[in-house]
């Protein structure tokens, strides 16, 4: 490994012995380390860009306000600066949560997913479309309650942002798994983009881009947080067609002691 941290391949001897086997194994490890480093560099670069946009916006608004104070709509300027500040706060919170999930620093304990669902959905009483709980069976998972809440909030924020008329949520137990479903009736995404949507700061070039109505953009990290959170709990997440709309399906292992 070089001083810059870039792993280099080891020469693989032709003889089929344990030295060759060791070299192949080490090369595989070095390759995975290189991939992880590249992902880290990409994340830092993308994060810098995402931070730069609201900072540039705040700076421009304040500089224009200070240079041309006469006749300025100060409350409107304050509202815009506040909105950009909230965006920065959301981004930093999401980055910290992702770092926590990557480091597996979860505080797992028996957690009622249906109760989490109930308390999170209650916060959406004034959302731009109704959020309906279609089913909520008792499902106890060995989960970090904060991470579970955040997972659901990210799914609901995204669904509410793009829904045409309503968002539906359900929690049910199925063969040792808790299955959480969030569906909206918005434009959905093409099946080919379903996997890419979970990338950090993924930009899908379609009707369902990152900015929703009213400019209520997310941090760009929501889907990545959902996936990291589900996987850190031994589960998975997938996207599918809700016909019309998008259906996010999260599967988490039930806590056997309470199943």
């Amino acid at each position: 490994m070089t001083q810059t941290g870039v792993p280099r391949d080891l020469p693989v001897p032709p003889a089929r012995d344990e030295v060759r086997s060791l070299a192949v194994t080490l090369n595989d490890m070095l390759s995975r380390l290189a991939d992880a480093q590249q992902r880290q560099r990409d994340l830092v670069s993308d994060t810098a860009h995402e931070l730069r946009s609201p900072i540039a916006s705040i700076r421009a608004q304040l500089e224009v306000a200070l240079d041309h104070p006469d006749g300025l709509d100060w409350p409107a300027t304050a509202r815009d600066v506040h909105a950009d500040t909230l965006r920065l706060a959301r981004l930093t919170e999401d980055l910290l949560l992702l770092a926590r999930l990557d480091g597996q620093h979860l505080r797992r304990r028996p957690t009622d997913l249906d109760a989490v669902c109930g308390s999170v959905v209650a916060r959406y009483g004034t959302a731009r479309v109704p959020v309906l709980v279609k089913a909520a069976e008792p499902c106890v998972v060995a989960g970090d309650p904060d991470a579970m809440s955040r997972l659901l909030v990210n799914l609901l924020d995204n669904a509410v942002r793009h829904a045409a008329g309503q968002v539906c949520v359900s929690v049910r137990a199925e063969d040792g798994w808790a299955v959480l479903t969030v569906s909206d009736d918005g434009p959905g995404i093409p099946a080919a983009d379903a996997e890419r949507a979970f990338g950090r700061f993924a930009r899908l070039d379609d009707a369902r881009n990152r900015t929703g109505e009213g400019g209520s953009a997310g941090s760009g990290l929501g889907p990545a947080i959902v996936r990291s959170s589900a996987e850190a709990h031994g589960g998975s997440v997938s996207l599918g067609d809700a016909g019309p709309g998008l259906r996010a399906l999260v599967r988490l292992p039930l806590d056997e002691r309470f199943a």
């Binding site: 540039a56 916006s57 421009a60 041309h68 815009d80 950009d84 930009r203 881009n209 900015t211």
Partner: protein
């Protein structure tokens, strides 16, 4: 003097428009690369303030296409 601002961040675009207008410029704003290229080709602007990361058509493509006189995609 006429200026075109091509910027997808709504609040940033509004602030830049306010500042330039206060300085005496006539300002138009486009929210993505395709609209920006349309306006740049048709609007007879003296200057264009162009963001690089734009939805639809990236800023450097808008710049290159406008330079070559390429028509924007429909």
């Amino acid at each position: 003097m006429r200026v075109l601002v091509v910027e997808d961040e709504q609040r940033l675009a509004s602030a830049v428009r306010r500042g330039l207008t206060a300085e005496g410029f006539a300002v138009d704003v486009a929210r993505d690369g395709v609209d920006g290229l349309h306006l740049a080709r048709e609007g007879q602007y003296d200057a264009v303030v162009l963001d690089l990361m734009l939805p639809g058509l990236a800023g450097h493509r808008v710049h290159a296409a406008a330079d070559r006189g390429v028509a924007p995609p429909r």
